[in-house]
Every structure is written in structure tokens, then in C-alpha cells.
Symmetry: C2
Subunit: 417 residues, 2 copies
């Protein structure tokens, strides 16, 4: 344990962090109390300009890379060493809340300020980062800033994508960069010593367990499938059931069979059928087409493979004479975070007297891509009833500050290494 690591948490200012969160929530504020601050929008630009203004007021250098990732740097004693990064994203869902993403950016910035307020120097530089477009609401795919940084998405390919209004990402990005002229330009991707992201849990486990800190051990893997069931439309009054090819009854039988396949007494499997669409969708016509999606997640790659590989056969076995097409639309293996960083998070929480537990992330985060290029970890704090991607998203100033204190200690320790 480096000498200053035990003290960095002392510089976290709960009121300042809360005020900044509320200030950011004004950019894209919705009438229902939520936030609509989609990537590279005017609201996103305003949030970026605010962060830069706060940074410049403290004398921190700002830089942007070609995908718009925004870095605020507090230089270390050995500025040529790879920095420690901490952050998340400023963009929100169209029906988003005040904490998803922006909390991680402002907690990282709060760490910089805490170190500055305490006069604590670090060996490595520490940078707070706002990754571009984590949500993927306006431009797809999500997490493109961190993915491009990690070399997993191609900038030129991303730039030609367009939003629903036909605006190209490249044009929105150029306008965003032009609106933050004081930030230096920086190349895409550079060596990173470690990455730590703080985030609201977006799930109910910490709250249910009475914990304030989650030491995130990794991000569970996901396999998504699309299922198309094709039967035969028929008159509901005249057609005997035995000769029907009823796409809806076949699809509901598939969902039941998949529930049996995915049954898990330990309640770790996540199995969701979120979209389910019926045609012709008329009360007195036997449906001839159903489309539904499967979102299947698990922390264990072997379970993901074993159960996921049975999805198609399970659907076929319940097809009842209908045609079935099963397509895997997404396949992301589980990510394991660096055990050393998970340990630092637990240890810091313990030192600070904060109830904590290990936890797997059920949701995706920018940390997924950073984990491919640097030792990576995350710090979760509770959010009320696990509700997120929702204007009702709620977290307490106390828990948010607790997460920032843990983050400060972990970052300071990593910056000393």
C-alpha cells in the first residue's frame, strides 16, 4: 500500500460531487426528471464543454481523440509513464436518468480534484475520461468510443454511420470536436497502465444485500438470438386445431421450452424474451408469423456455450409443424477483470468501513473494451430498486461519494505502481 493511497479518499467532497451531477443533469433534462443526452447531440456538447470548463478552472489539461473521447489529465511525477484512466460516459439513453455513465466521469474527475486538494502527487498521471457514445441510442453500436480506443472498431467505418435523421456520425463528431476547441487533439489509443470505472449497479443486488460497494469481478457474457416462426394464417372460427400451423402457439411453446432449458436454481442465468411480434395480429386470424428475440447472459463461458448451443434445437422441438429460423445476432464472451484491481477495490472498501461484496456486471460497460488493453476493474454503487435506463433512476449522494472514495484509493494506489 502506497503511503498516499490511504488518504486519497479524504479529499472526496460528497456535496461537490452531488452538485456536479445535478449540474450535468440539466444538459438534456427531461420534464419527468430524467435525462435525454444522446451521443454527439447539442446536449452532449454542452456537457463536454462544462467538464472542460471545470477542468480548466483547476488547471487540468484536456484532450480529445478522433472518436471524441475526452480526457482530463492530472500529470504525475513521471509524466511519460502510461497513465491510470478512470471514467465512463456522458451520453444517456433518450429516457435516461441522472447517474448512468455521468457518475463514472464525475467520480473520476472528483478523484483528480481530491488529489489536487490534498496536494498528493502520483507517480503516474491520472486521467478522467468520458468515452464517446456508450449507449448506442442515436448511433450504433454502443461503446464505440472505448471500442475504437481499444482498436476493436474502425474509425472510418464508424464515421459513415447515420442516425435516424440521416445525420452522419462523422459530421456530428466533427461538429462536437469543433465545439471544444480548447481541448488538445490526441491520437486514438495509447498505453494505459490501468483502467477503473465507477458506475451505478443498474441491478438490485447491492441494495438487496445491504452493500454500498460492489467489487466488480467481470462482465457476464451474452448471446443474443432472433427466432422467426412461420406457420399458416387461417380463419379462427373454421379451421380445426389439428390442421393449423399456428405460429403463435408454436412460439409460446418455444418460450416455455426455453424457460425449462434455462432453469437455474442459483438464479445466475439471465434469460429474457424482450421483443415478440405477431402477424397478422388480428383477433380472429390464426397467426402465420412470429418474430422474437432471446437475450441470454451468464458469467461462465462454458454455461453460455452449453445452453446457448441448445437454443435452436429447443425451438425446433417445439415448432409444431411451423418453420423455424434461429439466428445468433450477438456473441460476447464473459470478461474477467484483473484480480489485482478487484482486490484493491475490496481492500479499499474494507479500510473505509463500507459494506461490500464481489459482483458480476450484468450490463455492458466501456470497461469491457478497456479490459482488452489494460488491467481493468469497476466499482459499483447501489441504485434504487436496480432501476436504470429510466428517468426514475435514483442513487444517494452518500453512496455515490462512498464509491468515489473507493475509486480514489484504488486509483491512487495504481498510480503509485
Amino acid at each position: 500500500m502506497a503511503r498516499n493511497a490511504a488518504r486519497a479518499a479524504d479529499g472526496i467532497d460528497e456535496a461537490r460531487l452531488w452538485q456536479r451531477l445535478m449540474a450535468m443533469a440539466r444538459f438534456g433534462a427531461r420534464a419527468d426528471g430524467g435525462v435525454d443526452r444522446q451521443a454527439l447531440s447539442a446536449e452532449d456538447v454542452a456537457a463536454r464543454r462544462q467538464l472542460i470548463a471545470w477542468a480548466e478552472a483547476r488547471g487540468f489539461a484536456c484532450a480529445v481523440d478522433p472518436i471524441g473521447n475526452l480526457f482530463v489529465r492530472r500529470a504525475g511525477r513521471e509524466p511519460d509513464l502510461a497513465p491510470v484512466l478512470t471514467g465512463s460516459h456522458l451520453d444517456s439513453q433518450p429516457t435516461g436518468g441522472k447517474f448512468d455513465g455521468v457518475y463514472g466521469v464525475l467520480a473520476g474527475f472528483e478523484v483528480l480534484e481530491a488529489l489536487e486538494d490534498l496536494g498528493l502527487s502520483t507517480r503516474r498521471s491520472v486521467e478522467a475520461v468520458a468515452w464517446t457514445n456508450e449507449e448506442g441510442s442515436r448511433f450504433q453500436p454502443g461503446a464505440m468510443g472505448s471500442a475504437a480506443f481499444a482498436g476493436r472498431m474502425d474509425l472510418a467505418a464508424l464515421r459513415v454511420g447515420a442516425d435516424r435523421a440521416g445525420v452522419r456520425l462523422g459530421d456530428a463528431l466533427d461538429a462536437t470536436l469543433a465545439a471544444t476547441p480548447t481541448a488538445a487533439r490526441r491520437a486514438l489509443g495509447f498505453p494505459v497502465a490501468a483502467y477503473v470505472e465507477s458506475h451505478i449497479e443498474q441491478g438490485p443486488l447491492l441494495e438487496a444485500d445491504g452493500k454500498v460497494i460492489g467489487a466488480v469481478t467481470g462482465i457476464q457474457g451474452s448471446r443474443w438470438f432472433a427466432v422467426e416462426v412461420t406457420g399458416e394464417a387461417a380463419h379462427a372460427g373454421t379451421t380445426p386445431l389439428k390442421i393449423r400451423k399456428d405460429a403463435l402457439k408454436a412460439a409460446t411453446a418455444m418460450v416455455s421450452a426455453l424457460e425449462s432449458l434455462m432453469a437455474d436454481p442459483s438464479d445466475v442465468v439471465r434469460f429474457t424474451v424482450g421483443r415478440f411480434e405477431v402477424a397478422p395480429n388480428s383477433p380472429n386470424t390464426v397467426p402465420d408469423r412470429v418474430f422474437f428475440t432471446i437475450d441470454f447472459r451468464h458469467p461462465d463461458a462454458a454455461v453460455l456455450q452449453r445452453l446457448g448451443d441448445q437454443v435452436e434445437a429447443t425451438c425446433r422441438a417445439a415448432a409444431r409443424g411451423c418453420a423455424v429460423r434461429v439466428t445468433q445476432t450477438f456473441d460476447a464472451p464473459p470478461v474477467d477483470f484483473a484480480p489485482a484491481i478487484v482486490g484493491l477495490v475490496s481492500a479499499a472498501a474494507a479500510r473505509l468501513g463500507l459494506p461490500h461484496r464481489d459482483i458480476f456486471s450484468g450490463a455492458f460497460h466501456d470497461a469491457k473494451f478497456l479490459a482488452e488493453v489494460a488491467p481493468t476493474g469497476m466499482v459499483f454503487v447501489p441504485c434504487a430498486r436496480g432501476i436504470s435506463h429510466n428517468p426514475a433512476e435514483s442513487a444517494t449522494a452518500s453512496d455515490l461519494a462512498a464509491g468515489a472514495r473507493v475509486l480514489a484509493e484504488v486509483v491512487a494506489e495504481l498510480a503509485a505502481q
Copy 2:
């Protein structure tokens, strides 16, 4: 058996009937070979004017009542007696075929022509009728012409209904009546000696059985329900399954439980879930709302009551913590046709050497309402694979003519009584 009853079938002209069907199919012809001739549309007006032109060419009197039901009359020897009516409807589904409804009208008209061609007088007058708006596609509800005729729907209430473009039924009706100025005006509802409707089966039973004629014994009863399931939206990646209130999984469990409830080895029960709508319908969000419909039909009122009364409890038992609201939206008891007319249909088919069977109607027809005011029956002929309400609707000239021959004999017999 009246002397001329055995001969009326001889006047049916298969080619003429087919040509008229094809001529009518031009009014509202779709590029895919189907017909879109919705009630009180320009296409419906054109079909009505065509029927009147054919009638006037033969010297038959035409009349319309205030709901637009169109009658073509061949007077009997005792014109003050209640007439025998035969017909169906000229309107179609927006994606309709060439035979549903219009066949019954033109078969009825063919009977008038057959009697005329043969010089056969009848004691009672015989009238071919086209009931207004059986389909209920443009204006709801369906079968409003026959229902208003039978005194089961109120004309003034129907007139204020509007289509999706905001056109009031009263205005469309007035325009339709104005476009057929040569038809005499007639009051709504009058004594009817008997009603016989010929129609394609719209189901597969006659074809599967190798029968040409169905002697329709009645129309099965129907109970329709709407089910609203309300759970709680949640993040698909983070929310443990045990604490979810998943409206989709609850709804699919309800459909499965209803299938068990409705299981019928004799395959007489008709149980259909035709509409099924999910919100927010996003792949990675646990659905919080499902709306689905139940269309349940059976010829036996006791079975309709026993199983229908268990629908709500069956849904509640599968609710899995979600809220459930079950609403009965339609309740039509079974209709039994007059045994004497069913017997006349069977006897005529037997005399004509046509393979025939008794059959229950799975679909609604105008005969449902006429059965409340007069002895009523129906004659079914096969349609290919039971497909109807579909541009692919198909029937053979030979089967259609066979149905008209049976109809001619039955109508002539009834008109002799």
C-alpha cells in the same frame, strides 16, 4: 315436394354464374387477384349498380331499405305473402377474395333467373338480397345490414359511426343510396317466410371429406376475451429472474394453460390467440405489458359456458406475480338453423347426386341474424384448402353451380309452401 321443386335446379347456368362472379370481382380488383370492396365504398356502389342493371334487364324489381340492404324481387303468385329470401353480401375484406359473400348474392340471383328461364311460377315471391356491410372492415360492427333488418341494431346509432378517415356511416350510406336511384325505397324489416344463404365454407372440412354440399345445421357460438398482463420493466442483463415480474413469460404461460384448458380430442373447440402485443418490445428489456386476445368458439352452449367461464381463473393462475385483467369482449350463443331447412338442403343434394354432409358454420354470417326472425338455413360449398379472407380464396365453377342447384330446389320448395 312441390311439383316444380324437382326442376328448379335445371335452370342453373354454371357458365353464367361464373361469368357474373368474375364480373363482380372487377369491382375492387386487387393486383394480387383478390378483391378489396369494402362496405359503402365506390367499389361497393359499382357492384350494387351492376346487380341492379342485371335485375332490371330481367324485369325484376329492386328495392333498398334505410341501411342499404338491396333486394331483387321475382314476384310470386300470391305477392302479399311473406317472401322467401336468399342472399349474402357484396362487401369484402380489404384483402378479400372473389367468392366470400358475393357468391351467395349471385347464387340467389341465379335462382331467380333459373326460375324465370324455366317459366316456373312460385306461390311466394322470391327475393335475392345483398345485406350491407357483413365484413365490418371499414365500419364496425359487421353484419349490420342483417342485424338492423332483424331489429338487433339501431339504425340511428349505426349512422353516427365513422371509418378511419372520419367518414360517417350515415353519409356513406346516403351517397350509396343516391347512387342507386332506380331502386325503390322500402322500410327496414318485413315478414320473411324463410331465409337460405349459400356461401363458401371458409374452412377445410368439405374438401377434406370429398363433399360438394354442406347442409349447415347452425353457427357455433363465440366468446371473445381481451387479456392485459402488467408486470415491471427491468434490465435484461442485471435483474435476477426470481425478482422479475415478466409480463411476456406470464402471458406465454397463460397461453399454454389455456391450451390445456381447451384441449379437445374431438377437435371441435376453436381456440385462437390472434393478437399478442408486447411493450416496450425491446430485446434487452424485460417486458412490462402484454395484451392478447382469445377467440373461443364451440357449437355447444354448455361447453362455451363451462370453458369460457374458466378463462379468467386460468390466466390468473399463470400470472407469476403480474397483474391480470380479463375482459369478455364478445359473447354470441350458438345458432341452430331450422331443422326443416337443413333437411331440405340434404334432400336436394341427395336428389341431385351431390356428395353432402351436415356441417356447423365456424364463421359468422348474415344468416345468424335472419335466424332470429325467420326459419333459416345455409348451403356451403368447398373452397380450396379452406382459405378465405385472402386474395388466394378459390372455388370451382362446378362446385359453385352445384350449390346454386341445391339452393334453387330449396328456395323453390320453400316458396311453394
